[in-house]
Symmetry: C3
Subunit: 472 residues, 3 copies
């Protein structure tokens, strides 16, 4: 049972020189690029006092920091604890889940500050950053964490860093096309983060298809406590999602509205998920996999429309549907994807991010197309969709069309990018493990295998229950 | 030892059709009711720009969202991670603790938005919601999470949903009587949330008394790591309690003061809890049960008075006393309640919420009665107790009397409501488990029993310590 | 193997009367002192309405509560969950790590409110507190949590309370000398919190040197799940560190800038830590100890300079270096300190806090010395360094000198204080355990040893592996 692990180490997974090289090389590159390009934005610069006068701001409270920092911290928790722990459900891959997510996200946010900065905060040869840039960097990395979910346990940290480099780049390009060229609204990232991230990851895992993966089948499950660790990730994602969808919305009513819509959608999603999780199982028992994942689909599905006048009941409807779709996905689609399409999706991101992401894009398009000055108010209407300047003439229906176009663009970028990046990751130089060694921390982590201590404990058990019969 | 689990399944715990039916039925009801009644409040509505002018607000910062959202998120964490993980101390009921808490809270907040909305935010046939409604919904559900603590491990998810439906309803009625009819102050909910929630739950568990519960005695304890999971819940409740008690206080000094008083009370509570936990144990060892629960009594006990001029040292006194009362409760009252009064209180909510809740109500009444214009300042005095309109003539001593009345009303509502709901839950149709199957996730959760994986691990142990002698 | 634990209990570790006595005595003292000295500051007092007029504040938003409360809550989480869980990595000391950290921090914040209050918030015989005092109290206690890391598992809770009493006192004196007498800037506490706390703790553990500690070597390691619990602490410290370093900075740009610099430094730190963790291990595997600790060095190292114009790339450089220094420290210095200098540093605070703290102090001195009116702007320059009143004539270079002096003073205070406190803790009256009983929760905690439940599980293991020899 345990043997294979120590035999047939066909592949070399010793990263002693490769991993440090990649990490240090990229950190040096970050330092140089930050040195050349990145500076503090006006609201974080010591010249703020002068700035305030110029902007006629009466109070420090008007500094964007106070509008967005609390949401930023919530988003930050979602990226590192949320995604990190959500993936600790595997019984033997907890270190890899939290640790590699930590590594790729830490690198990703630096590269994202640059990429997104060049597209959106570039002034006189400098990228001027503030709290909103930090949030956007976390968002961008979120899409990488999503893709990581598809290849969890099957890739080396180097592969993850390489994927991060490319995915952050493609994310920024796609985001630029959507937000700037198509003038699409997507504050919660249903399209830019979830649809793009998920289909990108699914394409990558398709290219990296491992025919013999069942050799590590025994490690693909969870144990009692690993499922509880995963619930920490689930709950933080669920609780802070209202902050995620409202973090970069306009000040005032938009942020307020986004939070309410997301709160409602997520609440509804939990009930339909529980309902279908029980219904689709012969004994009517609930499945932790569904509770850990499908309950979050409601946040993904209102990512685009949360800041619009979706209304609370609209949110309940969207949340309910996404919970059902996601749970059904885990029961029927995931096995299908693996057996038929050879898409091995470790965390089932197709159910949690891909499908709900598409729903989110579509709901956003419809909500935008249905917008009226009556519902938004004359000013609110223009403000909500930035129908100013060259977009003055854009009507809701046209906006809806562009929103829909945004979905298509995101999908194309994801498939094309995923295919290319997947091909690159297929090169035999990145130190990934053999099929029978997948989902096993022991490959890349010191002391990941239970040592003397636990063994000793199992003795302790014996010692303290002399009353119990020796179980033969 | 392991056998009984698979035998004597007298009761039918297969919820395959019942649970989905209830969940979907209620979600549909929520959607319809939200569709008819719930809309965005002015500060979350796209008409905010016009609104701002009417209210002469100079900045988006004046939107209530920025006054309350950070506190809301802390409260949100307390309800889902705080209560959820606090109850994971049971060795075999971690999924049920976190999962069912998740389910009932997600349903409860939707129903609470409606119930509380009809009482407090109803305008021209619509319920207009904003961030404060979200906080109040979480508060309302908090009282259900408290009651859940008393019946933890002994009820089916359907029973929990039924209880949630009724308890949220009764909570809202009781809250209306206290806040609107008696004009009582209770920002932190010592009376409305803790006293009501705890005695409601205790009454329910009394009605559902299980004479043969010792059959599952072996599962009523904790294991090393389940106690650590519970500490996650404890600490988040403890750390965020200042946000809980200040979340809906008036802007400015009241919120500021509530946070400080709660912070002080909780700090003192930890010391007296540790002191008595050690003192009441022959070997002077500390008991995790006390640390996990009694340390929180300080937050409950200042729930009513935190926003008043309780003063930091007043808070230390209240916190110290509540820690002692709560710890003593765990050592002496809980066993008494079970043996004499047949009240089986799984989490000991009588010690953590009931008694401290009563202390909180009394302290609130005294603090209110002792209020003077000198201490609060002329304006502060009126603002703190809303002595405006019809209440202009109310004096502190009269207010104190009404505060005391609030405790009594909450108790009566709890006993009456708990008795009725308990009777309903006693019906044999809800799929609860037999006594010997209580406190066991395996009944309602897939793969909750240790499977091959852990088994395999125990092999691994052996394998990797050839040096160790086969444990004799 | 297991025997020694139950034999040779030379020392009396029964704290039944001693611990309660100390706890209650000190809580009573706190109540008395708070009663005499502590009152609400203007912004938390019910007279706020009048206050607002006097200060010409147009909005409640101007209340410091809204500028600092979100950061306060993040800091609060770092102290209780961050430090608490970071230390749960020991396989048999999770209760002590979280529980004792909880106890000493809860006592420490009360004493810190008084000590720091007398030095900084004393007016007309009263200490007037607000949210900033709460943050500073948490900061002060942070230095105690750091010192706790060095003696983790080797001391009794009473020793920890005694140490807390003295360390908080010394911290406040040192802080007063630095901030008020030397007029040094240290918002994130590289010197006052980390350098002082770490060297204080290292000196204490040196004085308490245990020659026979290898007797409990088997318990000094971690197990799979204890490492995951520790990652919860790591991530919360890492994610919220931007709040830590910006919590008490000036309103506006300073808080904004501190958060950005810390965010960048920490991100860079993760990459260099991973690089060296892999590089310094023969098989190139990552070591959880490094990931759990060294990744945080970046936050420590910008503690002083984060609110200055360090710039993002400057932060990346500092973060990268500190990650390398810290990781190298774990691999080479820690063993050296123990074998040669007899400094037994359980958590390796020398690598996580001491060295990065010194780096932070030095970087702060350099950054301050390099400050120019051109970079900060005329007003920003004066505001950033408080070059007002008697300090009007102070130049950046002189400020840099004083900053450097601050490091020296902190070191001297730490060594002297640590030596004295260590001597006091050496007294045989505090109930610490014998060497072979160290790192074992069973001494001070009820039911910390695996009982029947897990035993039963271990049967389950057996049940599912008929192939295994029966362990009689």
């Amino acid at each position: 049972m345990d043997r294979p692990r120590h035999q047939g180490m066909a592949k070399n997974t010793n990263l002693r020189w490769r991993l440090p090289l990649v990490c240090l090389l990229w950190e040096v590159a970050m330092i140089v690029l930050f040195g050349v390009f990145v500076r503090f934005g006006a609201e974080a610069d010591a010249h703020w006092e002068e700035e305030k006068r110029e902007m006629n701001l009466t109070s420090d409270m008007e500094n964007d920091f106070y509008f967005r920092y609390p949401s930023f911290q919530d988003v930050h928790v979602m990226i590192f604890v949320g995604f990190g722990f959500l993936m600790t459900f595997l019984k033997r891959y907890g270190f890899g889940a939290v640790g590699f997510n930590f590594l790729l996200a830490a690198f990703g946010i630096q590269w994202a500050l640059l990429m997104q900065g060049w597209f959106h905060s570039f002034k006189d040869g400098k990228i001027l950053i503030g709290v909103e840039n930090l949030i956007n960097a976390d968002f961008c990395v979120g899409s990488v964490c999503i893709a990581f979910g598809a290849i969890l346990g099957k890739t080396s940290p180097i592969q993850l860093l390489v994927m991060t480099l490319f995915q952050v780049t493609l994310f920024s390009v796609n985001e630029y096309i959507l937000l700037n060229l198509l003038h699409v609204k997507d504050a919660g990232g249903s399209m830019t983060i979830h649809t793009f991230g998920a289909y990108f990851g699914l394409t990558v895992t398709r290219v990296l298809y491992r025919p013999n993966l069942e050799q590590s089948k025994d490690k693909q499950g969870s144990v009692y406590h690993s499922d509880l660790f995963a619930m920490i990730g689930t709950l933080y994602l669920w609780m802070y999602w209202p902050s995620f969808n409202s973090a970069i919305s306009d000040h005032g009513d938009a942020q307020h509205r986004s939070a309410i819509n997301t709160y409602c959608s997520l609440a509804a999603c939990v009930l339909t998920t529980m309902a279908f999780s029980s219904m689709l199982q012969k004994k009517g028992k609930l499945d932790m996999v569904h509770i850990q994942n499908a309950t979050l689909a409601g946040g993904v599905a209102v990512g685009t429309s949360a800041e619009m006048m979706l209304t609370p009941y609209g949110s309940l409807i969207v949340g309910s549907i996404s919970g059902i779709v996601s749970t059904v996905g885990y029961v029927y689609f995931t096995p299908f994807l693996e057996s038929r399409l050879h898409i091995q999706d470790t965390c089932g991101i197709h159910n949690l991010h891909a499908m709900p992401g598409l729903i989110g894009g579509i709901v956003g398009a419809i909500t935008a197309a249905a917008a009226t000055e009556d519902v938004y108010g004359k000013e609110g209407f223009i403000k909500a969709f930035d129908f100013t300047g060259v977009y003055q003439r854009r009507t809701p229906s046209i906006q809806g069309g562009f929103q829909a176009a945004g979905i298509v663009v995101s999908l194309l970028m994801a498939f094309a990018g995923g295919a290319i990046v997947g091909a690159i990751l297929k090169l035999p130089i990145w130190g990934d493990a053999a099929a029978e060694k997948c989902f096993e921390d022991d490959i890349y982590w010191e002391g990941a295998l239970p040592q003397v201590p636990e063994d000793e404990e199992s003795d302790v058990y014996r010692m303290h229950s002399p009353d119990k019969p020796a179980s033969p």
